[in-house]
Amino acid sequence: MARIFGCTKTTFTLANHPYTYLPPGLRNFLTEVGHIAAFAGNFFRHVFYPPFEFRELLHQCYEVGNRSFVLVSLTGFIMGLVLSLQIRPTMIEFGAVSYMPSMIGIAIVREIGPVLTALICAGKIGSGMGAELGSMRVTEQIDAMEVSGTNPFKFLVVTRILATTLMLPLLVLMSDTISLAGSFLVEHFKGEVSFTLYFTEVFNSLAFSDLVPATTKSFFFGFVIALVGCYKGYTSDQGTAGVGRAANTAVVIASILVFLVDFWAVLVADIFYDL
């Protein structure tokens, strides 16, 4: 418990606090939320102070990109393809098939690209971090780092969260591009739309107000995915069973948080850009 705060010296108790009279389920939930918030606070406390682990940050960026690159491309491509195939007949029915590129473009850039990529990364990166840090905790590798005079929070957690936060928008951009390519293939072979026409239509329909919120929320997706994965792994105990549980709950919580962030992002974007 005390380790979450990265400072083993602080301990505090909540005996006799009104908080202890809450139903246990709610109490556990609130405790968990509190711990994750403290963990995030600790991240911000460490991220601005030297020593900075640049090498490890680069290494983690590479890991994040490399681990999810193929999966994100594949799912993005199929999503673009399938979306076009499914929507096309309805659009033909309404005589609005010429709107296909703009519609698919907006759907992918605003919503499907970021959320799909985030969910894939929650499954791939979030669980990976949970399992990796969890097993490092259980086999005392994190303690070993600490006794060798290195701050393991900084080396392991800060670099991972930062790397995922920076890499996710890039993955989203890549996924968007590949999805649009998939959708273009459908339009090209079914509707004989040329490459130039298709992408001119797509870019004409997209505005700055589409890209900014989508990219901004991708940063937050990356942050919550790595935050939850690292939190679960870094604080896992109870042996190897705990490692499995850490990986599993990391995915579940990160996926839910992705949707919550998405919801808030839409509300906020609505205020600023009057969608």
Binding site: C7, E140, E146, S148, T150
Partner: protein, 261 residues
């Protein structure tokens, strides 16, 4: 390696060294986990160049005790002084500096398994560049690996090594910062008797060469007999009995005798 039974090669044949100010000085250390009172007023001193063995039953709090010496656990009560500094009052930077003087060999080796052996040894060096000798990082790594007899594993991953090899690499990783004190948490557990003897010889050799002081936690009485200048028996959270190995074997107390039966 068959020098193990040769009295000249064993440290216990030497008189206990209790000279100079203690490197580690702990008094009245209490530590509980919830209702589980693990340590209940433990006292101990470690003197320069001494090999102090701590024996105790499984779960008696031996690992907790030595974790308190490097700030991995904090005692609820008591005094912990390492190299004259009060561990409980150090800033994070001072603590990290002090930690380079105290090597810790974990019960399960705790090698970083995403890194090669070279990177495992590089890790502490890169973080404490002031500890890199003029001979250079690479030479230091190879020399330290050689001193544990495993120079050929330098490019391997920990998963490719046996348990005994991992233990020795972990020892090399500890040694590379040239600590003044080394804490061994069950260095021979889970190893076959021959490998265990090799590890014991290695510990003795390192102690002789580098003049370090060590605390060795063990279940292995052979190990205790060969290594110890002094033995502390940890029972019920306190230092129940203390003395040389020979003194303790002739101690009539039933709880002490239970260890030597």
């Amino acid at each position: 390696m068959n020098t193990l039974n040769d009295p000249v090669a064993t440290a216990s044949s030497a008189p206990p060294v209790a000279v100079g100010a203690p490197l580690i000085h702990i008094r009245g250390v209490h530590k509980s986990f919830g209702d589980n009172h693990v340590l209940k007023g433990f006292d101990m001193d470690l003197f320069p160049q001494e090999n102090l063995v701590i024996i105790g039953k499984s779960g008696s709090g031996k690992s907790v005790l030595i974790k308190c010496l490097v700030g991995l656990e904090y005692p609820d009560e008591g005094v912990v002084e390492i190299l004259g500094k009060n561990l409980l009052k150090l800033s994070q930077i001072e603590l990290d500096e002090l930690r380079t003087e105290v090597g810790f060999l974990f019960q399960g080796s705790a090698l970083y398994d995403s890194m090669t052996v070279r990177e495992n040894l590089q890790f502490p060096l890169r973080r404490h560049p002031n500890r890199i000798l003029p001979e250079g990082e690479e030479t230091m790594i190879l020399r330290t690996l050689e001193s544990v007899g495993l120079a050929h594993t330098v490019n391997m991953k920990p998963s490719e090594l046996s348990g005994g090899m991992k233990r020795r690499i972990a020892l090399a990783r500890t040694l590379i910062l040239q600590p003044k004190i080394i804490l061994y948490d069950e260095p021979t557990s889970g190893l076959d008797p021959i490998t265990a003897k090799e590890i014991i010889q290695l510990i003795l050799r390192i102690q002789a060469e580098q003049q370090t002081a060590s605390i060795i936690i063990t279940h292995d009485l052979d190990c205790a007999r060969v290594i110890a200048n002094r033995v502390i028996i940890l029972v019920e959270g306190i230092n129940y009995a203390e003395g040389t190995y020979q003194q303790l074997t002739s101690n009539r107390d039933p709880k002490v005798q239970a260890f030597f039966k």
